[in-house]
């Protein structure tokens, strides 16, 4: 086994045994099951589930990741005193977080979806879209968490920064977009809005998910613009690609800082 593999295996064992990750998986399973059972028709249940995924996944990934890296500080030092390179260890840390978080999400949400099924004709496609967007958001926010934990020494400030990132991407950013639309409502805004959406991973996820339903009409005029842009395969691929970039940028920034960090 390679050095990365050995580090990863030990991380996985450690994270998988923590009750946090088990609780997270169970919570997701319970929510999915409740929504599918009592959330009305299949399509409406899935829509509610989308909102849960868009809010909860970034929060759990960024907070769990940040806290985990702070807790692992001494262990990281111990491993760095072994013949282990910094890049190797960083990759192992990232994998050791993403795999359990992503796994808990896939199993927690996927199992009830598979068992209960239901929904409209597009159900399978919508479920796959939900799982892929969820996995990508897990990648993005775990990468953010590594960045925060590597850059900020103090644990309390780091946790604050992690929560700030979550608030910014899920709530504040939408407020900002709203502000832009109301302030400049005399101008054609489709282009700038599309650009704004592309800069925020949560918004990208939201647009991708909504467009897999036939509800873009609910989003009004801009919905039609999104519809036109994203409905073609090219738009969706571009959105997925952008989500990938949103994960890669913080990942490599974190790696850059990790290589230079003093422990």
């Amino acid at each position: 086994m390679s050095t990365t593999g050995k580090v990863l295996a030990s991380q996985l064992r450690n994270v998988a045994r923590s009750r946090w990750i088990l609780g997270y998986g169970l919570l997701l399973a319970l929510l999915t099951w409740l929504l599918l059972q009592f959330g009305g028709s299949g399509e409406r249940a899935l829509l509610s589930l989308f909102n849960v995924v868009l809010l909860l996944l970034p929060l759990v990934s960024v907070v769990f990741g940040t806290l985990y890296v702070y807790n692992a500080r001494e262990f990281i030092e111990m491993l760095l005193a072994q013949p282990v390179g910094r890049g190797t260890l960083y990759t192992g840390l990232f994998g050791g977080l993403v795999l359990p978080l992503g796994g808990a999400f896939l199993i927690g949400v996927g199992t009830p979806l598979l068992l209960l099924g239901g929904g409209g004709p597009g159900f399978a496609g919508q479920a796959v879209m939900l799982l892929s967007v969820g996995l990508l958001l897990t990648l993005v926010f775990t990468a953010f968490s590594l960045c925060v934990a590597v850059l900020i020494e103090d644990r309390a400030r780091g946790l604050g920064a992690a929560l700030f990132i979550w608030l910014l991407t899920t709530l504040v950013y939408d407020g900002l977009i709203l502000l832009v639309t109301t302030t400049f409502d005399r101008y054609p805004l489709e282009g700038p809005l599309l650009a704004l959406v592309f800069l925020n991973p949560v918004d990208l996820g939201r647009v991708l998910l909504l467009l897999s339903f036939d509800v873009s009409a609910l989003m009004g005029y801009t919905g039609a613009v999104y519809e036109r842009f994203f409905r073609g395969a090219g738009g969706s691929i571009l959105a997925f690609l952008m989500l990938g970039i949103c994960a890669a940028v913080p990942f490599f920034l974190g790696l850059h800082w990790f290589r230079r960090k003093d422990f």
């Binding site: 086994m1 050095t3 050995k6 580090v7 295996a9 030990s10 991380q11 064992r13 450690n14 994270v15 045994r17 923590s18 807790n71 692992a72 500080r73 001494e74 262990f75 030092e77 111990m78 491993l79 760095l80 005193a81 072994q82 013949p83 282990v84 390179g85 910094r86 230079r260 003093d262 422990f263």
Partner: protein
């Protein structure tokens, strides 16, 4: 293994506005036990972490067996390190930690498990590490430093947190290290311990080396019989 040779040249490190190391030169001969002593915030731990590559120096070099330490982590196969305090991943067991380390070092035979036996760690190796007491974790920490028969052993405050019996076992192990093929560097605040263990002394004050040489010759130069007094004399500027 043959004991490692260590040379530190012009080592400097700043943390923000704080000059922690200011051009430190140290040469450590193979097979010697050297103690790094100094008041709090003298730069002892930073010096040790620089040897391990945990802290990146601003200037200067560390050479282990005449090779300048850089990005390649392979040289750390030669080093056994016991940090000041050890916290391990909470949910792993001691045996899993040992398994991980032997895997990373790619060594499964010829291990030095003497300390594991003497500390009676076997009984604790299958429990999750978060359930172990601080002292037990520190024993594991010490055992890990010696496990791979390293050519260079680096101990940061080795007896802090150990009970007197365990501290005695560890000190005996340190004293045997040169004959088992290792060079030893340790930091300590306890001068009686330094007198007991170390042949050589590096005395750091505010990031500068103010004395480097044999413990014995420092005592002779200062005319004191106890190391504690000799150190105090240097600090107050009366001797050498």
């Amino acid at each position: 293994m043959t004991p490692a040779r260590l040379r530190i040249s012009g080592l400097g490190k700043r943390f923000g506005r704080l000059d922690v190391l200011r051009g430190v030169h140290i040469a450590i001969a193979p097979g010697r036990i050297t103690a790094v002593v100094g008041p709090n915030a003298a730069g002892k731990t930073t010096l040790i972490k620089t040897i391990l590559g945990l802290v990146r120096p601003d200037r200067g070099t560390v050479e282990v067996n005449d090779e300048v330490v850089g990005r390649d982590p392979a040289y750390r196969k030669l080093i056994g390190y016991m940090p000041q305090s050890a916290r391990f991943p909470e949910y792993l067991t001691g045996r899993e930690i040992l398994g991980l380390l032997t895997g990373l070092r790619e060594r499964r035979s010829g291990l030095d498990e003497e300390l594991i036996g003497q500390f009676c760690l076997d009984a604790h190796l299958d429990k999750p590490l978060r359930t172990l007491s601080g002292g037990t974790r520190q024993k594991l920490n010490a055992a890990v430093a010696f496990l791979f028969r390293p050519a260079l052993i680096v101990l940061d405050e080795p007896t802090a947190g150990l009970d007197p019996v365990a501290a005695g076992i560890l000190k005996d192990k340190v004293l045997r290290a040169p004959s088992e093929g290792a060079t030893v560097i340790l930091t300590s605040h306890i001068m009686s311990e330094v007198e007991e263990l170390a042949q050589d002394l590096v005395f750091l004050v505010e990031g500068n080396v103010v004395y480097q040489g044999a413990v014995q010759s420092l005592l002779e130069q200062s005319g004191e019989s106890r190391l504690e007094r000799a150190i105090a004399a240097i600090l107050s500027g009366t001797a050498p």
